[in-house]
Symmetry: C2
Subunit: 299 residues, 2 copies
């Protein structure tokens, strides 16, 4: 009896340690899986230096083993591409100055326009705009983009239903919020008529990884940044031909839209751009852009 | 004594539960802090729906409380901006087609060039290029970008030292790797002569948050995507005047470069672009871009 009463606390301690250890393990697992899957992949392993800059949030998986460079090499080094002479247009200084001014003036006229005309747009113009977006640089020249151009009315409508349903949930959730003081004003925010009306919807997908000929996954470094840069070129190309769009990143609709458009698992929606001519009565908020001194520092 | 020997296991159990609870708490904290700080901020709280799409890895802090839209509103809704008529250049179809082709041809000639001439470039051209980048759309029109243009030779050299030191560490670390079979070839990868030679280095910072007039932080939604889009416009503007660059994201140099350039804590380095005319003997790898059918799907 004395032996037992001495042993009991020891047994209790051992039991508690075992339970405690199991709780710690399960808590670690839970915490990890509560972050999104992309983040889980990026959790740096302790034994190597992260290969992707910690300041960048691009969802490139950190592997630390691939043949990658801080420069965005235009070649896959394994292929040992031939180097060729680079020939460029060279302009006299005066022409450069004029061209830089004209291009700025043109781009500065670009605005996000929500009122898009149903008037049809030549298909070949859209093709050239997408070709232009495809000239963007990308990490290790992986060209990790897929542009899904939707003109089919039924598919456009399905997209609208998915986007509006999610948007409504998002807005309604904030109903109690101090910012929300006018339901009818908000309503206009989740009704996206342009998704039916615009002759084209361009859904831009980023390929988070590629598939090598041997079936293995190939990491697409900086894929989100690369695809965003290509969207910058896309916006420039649209503006250059007098078409308008509004940059949108539909909240939480990516997976549903990916399934609707039958895109593979390595593709994730980055942006949705309705494209067309501006409606004749289109309006835009009377905003100003920051002056040069607020965005540039010279050293 | 009997009472004590009965109480001892109870006390042991209580003590173990307390210790176990503390271990669980600390394990959760550790797991969270082992991911990068950006990710910690993004860990979704359980009690609200993440406001930023889980497919997007942009490091916008998830707050769920701000007046934000899936569309990139061009106005801060709190300011209730006036809406004005949107007027646009409208081109006949034939002109559109021609313009779209010409712009594609021009952008398709862009290449990442590492061999940059020291020849000076007119400052006003650089100003216009930065102005053009500043016309990009941004989440809630926050314009979350700072372009640091460096022409001072001493600062350029300091930047080179920081970047090369980090690059060398990165490369040496992979020395045992099966990919690394030629040290001398690799060496050319961490020597970045262009950082001294190029007349301008443009360091693009993203502002991860802003400061409101009342001193509070303002979340900059989609700041990394926004700034990447503006880099797309920057590349287009450079190409338009016959200047070259190479898109680089210096690994792990952000914090040091931020301090060197005296940028505030809300700014993080996204890209470093050396800018100038191409060197007369510049070469580029003989790469091809994917054809339209590989990057576009029409529905």
């Amino acid at each position: 009896m004395v032996v037992l009463s001495v042993l009991t606390p020891v047994l209790a301690v051992v039991l508690c340690l075992v339970i405690g250890f199991m709780l710690v393990r399960s808590a670690q697992t839970e915490t990890t899986s509560s972050t999104s899957s992309g983040e889980t992949e990026r959790t740096p392993k302790a034994d190597f230096r992260p290969w992707v800059d910690q300041d960048l949030q691009d969802d490139t998986e950190i592997k630390g083993r691939e043949d990658e460079d801080g420069d965005w090499v235009d070649s896959n080094e394994e292929e040992e591409l031939l180097h060729v002479a680079y020939s460029a247009s060279v302009y006299p200084e005066e022409t450069m100055l004029e061209r830089s001014k004209d291009f700025y003036t043109q781009m500065n006229q670009r605005r996000s326009v929500r009122f898009i005309s149903p008037e049809p747009v030549p298909r070949e113009v859209i093709n050239n705009v997408i070709r232009t977006a495809g000239t963007a640089p990308s990490g290790a020249h992986t060209e990790p983009w897929t542009f899904v151009v939707v003109s089919d009315p039924e598919t456009k409508h399905q997209i609208r239903l998915i986007v509006e349903e999610e948007e409504e949930v998002n807005y309604r959730q904030r109903m109690g919020d101090k910012w929300v003081h006018d339901l009818s004003r908000l309503k206009t925010n989740w009704i996206k008529e342009y998704l039916d009306v615009a002759p084209y919807l361009i859904l831009v997908f980023k390929q988070t990884y590629g598939i090598l000929p041997n079936g293995k996954k190939r990491t697409h470094y900086y894929n989100e940044i690369s695809v965003s840069i290509s969207c910058g070129l896309l916006l420039a190309a649209l503006q250059n031909v007098g078409l308008v769009t509004v940059t949108s990143t539909p909240l939480n609709c990516g997976p549903q839209l990916r399934l609707l458009l039958k895109r593979p698992a390595n593709e994730k929606l980055l942006m949705l751009l309705p494209v067309g001519y501006p409606a004749s009565d289109a309006t835009v908020p009377d905003l100003k852009r920051k002056p040069l001194d607020d965005i540039m520092v010279h050293i």
